[in-house]
């Protein structure tokens, strides 16, 4: 038995495997109480819990079976021979641009072999080449695993490490940077990197995958090809998200880091530009730019990297009948900034007016965004908005609540004083606030209807 026999299984999970004679990659039928589960025993990561066995069912879905609930098992065979990542040397071509792929964790980095169906991590250039040979036509790929965490656990430590990694690679003359990231908070990371890394000379492209590469409908390989191509060749030197386009797997979309949001918990076309058009479409051969106000690639440009973050900021997501304690607790607990996601044009109920006045008088920054996600906070329209502004609440136009949150975390650390913080917040950066919304910036179509491509073409005709 080699080291991989129980790969990733510890304590109770490993004990039950040893007791019942189950190995990783075994084809098994497990009985647990009234249920029987048939599938392949998958290896687990080092950080996995110690209580579950994970099976891949015939449907392609993975399930966890609690070790202590397992009554019996029948081993039907082994799939070990089927599951491997063919590793080869990544072929270097002096004519190709150099691209750095940073790994942070998440589906795209951990399960990539879309041809063999393997779920074991594929991350070195050689492993990636074995799984997605097209990469070698695009660039000379280097990889560096910065950390391996679920994206909901991303925070300032990781943001700073990424910004510093970006600075380092730009200094070394990289053609572009790809960041593999779990999709849950990919848009938050894209937004904070827009603030931490300004004046970029080359593209920084965040990419993830909604379906792991062991499923037939995986978007992992295609997203990685599109992201790598963007880093290598795209003319837009901004922080962007590169993910699956709606309605077709023929192209990906490039979204500005400040205008993008995850809008579906499981669909592949989950990332959507809100209140604007995506920056560009990308396919295997070309880029179709949908906007022209982007920062052009210019390797001689000197980046402005400020990896700072103040953690004392919270989002207050308004709901009817909200009580003053929601605001008061934040002030009592030492928060320095509050982003309200208000209703309509930026409203909350009257009982919050006084707590908000006390908060701003105590020096807490309070900004208003809209929970409709689309549209602007316009606090001059109704008297209630004006009353909130008199209490020190500042509207942030069409900045998304999540973007306002990371921007305030950054501004509180980057700004010298209260006025400077406010000036930063109210100055558009990387498209986080725009003068107006294009007519096709609201709920761009999806699913069973004409290609988004055709719609965008219509717009540009």
């Amino acid at each position: 038995m080699n080291d991989d026999t129980f790969k990733g299984y510890r304590n109770p999970a490993r004990a039950v495997m040893e007791r019942l004679g189950i190995k990783v990659w075994d084809d098994v039928a497990i009985t647990a109480g009234p249920n029987t589960f048939e599938g392949v025993v998958l290896p687990r990561s080092e950080t996995a819990d110690e209580y579950h066995l994970v099976l891949k069912l015939a449907t392609g879905y993975n399930i966890g079976v609690k070790a202590e609930s397992i009554d019996g098992v029948k081993v039907l065979g082994s799939r070990k021979a089927d599951y491997h990542i063919p590793e080869q040397r990544f072929p270097s071509n002096p004519a190709n641009p150099r691209v750095m792929l940073f790994g942070t964790g998440g589906t795209i980095a951990s399960r990539l072999d879309y041809k063999t169906g393997a779920v074991i991590p594929a991350f070195s250039p050689g492993e990636l080449y074995g799984a997605v040979p097209e990469l070698a036509d695009i660039c000379n790929l280097e990889t560096e695993k910065l950390f391996g965490i679920f994206s909901e656990d991303m925070g300032p430590v990781q943001y700073k490490a990424l910004a510093e990694g970006i600075a380092r690679e730009i200094e070394k003359g990289v053609a572009g940077i790809v960041i593999g990231h779990g999709t849950d908070t990919l848009h938050h990371t894209a937004a904070i990197l827009t603030y931490m890394c300004r004046n970029l000379p080359v593209p920084v492209v965040l990419v993830g995958s909604q379906r792991s590469s062991d499923r037939p409908s995986s978007d992992a390989a295609l997203n990685l090809i599109h992201a790598t191509r963007t880093a290598a060749c795209c003319d837009a030197a901004e922080v962007m998200v590169c993910m699956f386009g709606p309605t077709s797997d023929r192209y990906g979309l490039l979204h500005r880091g400040t205008r993008v949001r995850k809008m579906h918990s499981s669909y592949r076309s989950t990332f959507r530009t809100i209140g604007d058009r995506p920056l560009a479409m990308v396919d295997r051969d070309s880029f179709t730019y949908l906007k022209d106000d982007y920062m052009r690639r210019d390797p001689s440009r000197k980046p402005d990297i400020r990896p700072v973050f103040d953690e004392r900021v919270s989002i207050v997501y308004y709901y009817p009948n909200m009580k003053p304690d929601i605001v008061e607790s934040l002030v009592d607990n030492g928060y320095r900034g509050i982003i309200i996601a208000g209703t309509g044009l930026g409203h909350v109920n009257k009982p919050l007016y006084e707590p908000l006045r006390r908060a701003t008088e105590a020096g807490v920054h309070v900004y208003m965004t809209v929970q409709t996600l689309w549209g602007y906070s316009q606090m001059y329209v109704y008297e209630t908005g004006r009353l909130l502004m008199e209490r020190g609440v500042v509207p942030l136009a069409n900045m998304l609540p999540e973007v306002a949150y990371v921007k305030l975390c950054w501004a509180l650390a980057a700004g010298e004083d209260r006025d400077e913080v406010r000036r930063i917040m109210q100055t558009p950066i990387g498209g986080d606030m725009t003068e107006s919304e294009p007519p096709d910036g609201y709920m761009i179509l999806q699913g069973g209807v004409p290609e988004v491509k055709d719609v965008f073409r219509g717009v540009f005709r």
Copy 2:
């Protein structure tokens, strides 16, 4: 001078009007510091603030000018003669169904005369008939103003009054009920009324307006016509939202009270059914049903009205780096229920696991929804989801966060004990959780692209 000369203006605002000789409906050029504003002085409601004069500019927008900032004024004329609501007796027709319109406040009730451009409240049947004569072809309209508040101030007192009003009118044999409502929290009210008023014999239709009727693009009259027709004739006996459809003013959409959300802060087509199709399209002549699983109109059905509400519930809208104090403060402050709007399939970061475990052990109900809005909370997919479930967090499929919030407020008051509350929360009511999403349930198209009508037709072909 009659009572309307300074209508709604008090104290400093009224003082400046008297001093400078300004009357309501005057066409004025006001100088305030470096600015000059030309427009018509509008009357104000009794609840308006006392510090601003409100002008309608030539653009159709209203602005508030602070009374104390006004340096001078030139009166250019008066529009009084142009602004009036023609009031006539509402013609009763014994053949028409009886519809009750409850007023709660908001744009639709306060500014309705789309022909003359008046902004003064129009609410009695006679006033409404003067403004929208089509109403008399649809029904015999009665009106009752329950309250007059901004919709962000709606809460349990108003929800209960509405539920009791609905019960009363059903008892009296009404054909249907329309509720005029501000749009900010219209969807929250639609959701809570779905729970408070079950087993309805006739339709209950919430309607609002995104543009007041003094603007050329107002949706007030059309929305009211569609809502009244729905109450009078529609076959669906559910709580619904009737608002402007996307891409065209030729029809309105009927949305289920539990699946609808305000998605744009200013567009007229702001209300969207999330993760499903709207229930029906409505135009002046007909209904086009887009689903067939609705409760049919049956005047003999006995409604189940339970107007109860527990206020000790909050929404935790997850953001990266969230700290334990956010959950701990809620528990310390006596909250009995927490709805998490998590990332992805329903995730939060690890530092929240222990506070959440302590919360559920202390008897707090904690449910998981998704901040992507579209898609399902599926906590079996990743280990992190399973760990949260072991700590007592319960996923709510594709229930919207706002809907889960009002449902839990209701369930905590309606349920006998902890198990019963949980059973209520996990039982689908009025479509708040569905087995699956139709392919056209995600980001139905909008703006400059084919009619949604044609898309729906495609689906039904």
